[in-house]
Symmetry: C2
Subunit: 291 residues, 2 copies
């Protein structure tokens, strides 16, 4: 439940002004308003699952996005059942000035999509009902080899097209991208993972994430049985996932309402995975390509 | 929309530990948690209408009421369409440990009900879709005339039954309530009125309210046309209703998001109706019988 001093878990990613939101519990539109990024360029809302704390804020947010002047279609994506759930909750927000496009990640197969120039992948996880974890990846173009391009006599006004992957015809000869591009460069990868027990699949899925955002339902190890029964994770389990998946950084989120001071359990997780942060409302970072 | 520093309009009435809530927008359960009255004894939720800012918080609140241990049925009451709306929004809160009883105030006729010992009345008002205003009344029993009871020889253990309206048989003679009760005493009346234009019916409906809670969408008179078009009310119109209805006290609520400092327009309303208060989050009062 949303608390007087803590909003429900949610992730907003912005790239070149376009935005993708993961999960939208009751009240999520309020911290979105507080960060002042606007609402109009939210191109997609992805749902991990349809428990109320992950979707109850949808009709209110859709209306607010409507009030922001959006007219472009908006994509809603999630596990099977999305049509029924969205039809249900939007009975109180029936008239929107834009189209809703629903993508059902059917049969919970690994799904891939590209929205706002971000690659989105999902896998099924282990919760009390169908639930997904997501990876958002920003691919990086290979470096353009100016020397090789010059050697091949490619005029400068063709360089951009070649870097975008187009093959060009040039006075009788053909120049393809691989002729002027260097090796593939590492992009940026963010993984988002609630509500689930840790799984082997997750370790591979989150591999090498620059930022791994993971639920930490309980900090105190006395609650391990509760975590297992409710299909949630301990702080320590999130830390272990981050370590196994060789993540660069871990943010904990989705605390139990009974966990009022998550920082108290942080040191114990850091023994497992040093670069751990206890997530808090409006925690924000700017990520850049490495080297 | 709910704002970072202002919740949506809602009224919670508590009498002898039982509670009735009017309207439940996104986030309403958070201020309810802040006032610390608990959730378990909320016996009914009444809806003025089904715009998202009045009902989007329902599924989350129902789950929280479930977590509080409630097993008694809970009544949901509102204008026509309640079944479809409740079925829709509760698609994300399907399993509750108590029964939901829906009362549709059909055809928007004047309706009456008694919940938690409070008399509830409604009338249709003038909004962009079917909408109701509510009166909550606490009736007061007539004073018991001890002298007359003694004169009639009624033993003290019968007094309570007589005051509750029962007729008793006593050694060959019958004693009816009116024989030992004084005149009817004034109870307590609270009226709740959003979203609507002012109407003649409302003046009669709210008559002599001890507390009249009324929308004040705009304070600045420049917005009158907008208020008329959107079927809302100005501060001044709420003040005039309070005056015409001879209310004892007026609380303004349901401000436009553009109205950040409602207090700025308060003095102008007080010229029309002196006892006006600009409603704010968690504004609370205890009401008592007069004399």
């Amino acid at each position: 439940m949303p608390l007087p001093d803590r909003w429900l878990s949610s992730l907003l990613i912005r790239y070149h002004g376009r935005m993708v939101l993961i999960d939208c519990g009751e009240g999520t539109q309020i911290p979105l308003k507080m960060i002042k990024w606007g609402f109009k360029t939210i191109d997609a809302i992805l749902f991990t699952h349809y428990h109320a704390d992950h979707i109850a804020g949808l009709p209110g947010l859709l209306l607010t996005i409507g009030n922001s002047g959006r007219e472009e279609p908006l994509t809603l994506m999630g596990p099977p059942g999305i049509k029924k759930v969205v039809e249900g909750v939007t009975v109180i927000s029936p008239e929107l000035p834009y189209e809703l496009r629903l993508i059902e990640l059917s049969d919970l197969e690994r799904a891939e999509a590209c929205i706002s120039n971000l690659d989105i992948k999902s896998i099924p996880v282990d919760h009390s009902l169908p639930c997904l974890s997501y990876c958002i990846e920003l691919k990086r173009r290979s470096k353009f080899d100016v020397e090789r391009a010059k050697k091949l006599g490619v005029p400068i006004n063709y360089w951009n097209s070649l870097q975008k992957g187009l093959t060009i015809a040039l006075e009788g000869k053909t120049v393809s991208p691989e002729m002027v591009l260097g090796e593939i460069r590492r992009g940026i990868k963010v993984s988002y993972c609630t509500d689930t027990r840790p799984t082997e699949d997750l370790v591979k899925f989150i591999k090498d994430s620059d930022l791994f955002i993971c639920e930490g339902m309980y900090g105190n190890e006395d609650n391990l049985c509760k975590a297992v029964q409710k299909k949630h994770m301990m702080f320590s389990e999130a830390g272990l996932l981050a370590k196994q998946g060789r993540a660069k950084e871990l943010w904990l989120t989705h605390y139990s309402p009974s966990l009022t001071k998550p920082e108290e359990y942080l040191e114990a997780v850091k023994i497992i995975f040093t670069n751990t942060i206890a997530g808090r409302d409006l925690l924000t970072t700017t990520m850049k390509y490495v080297d």
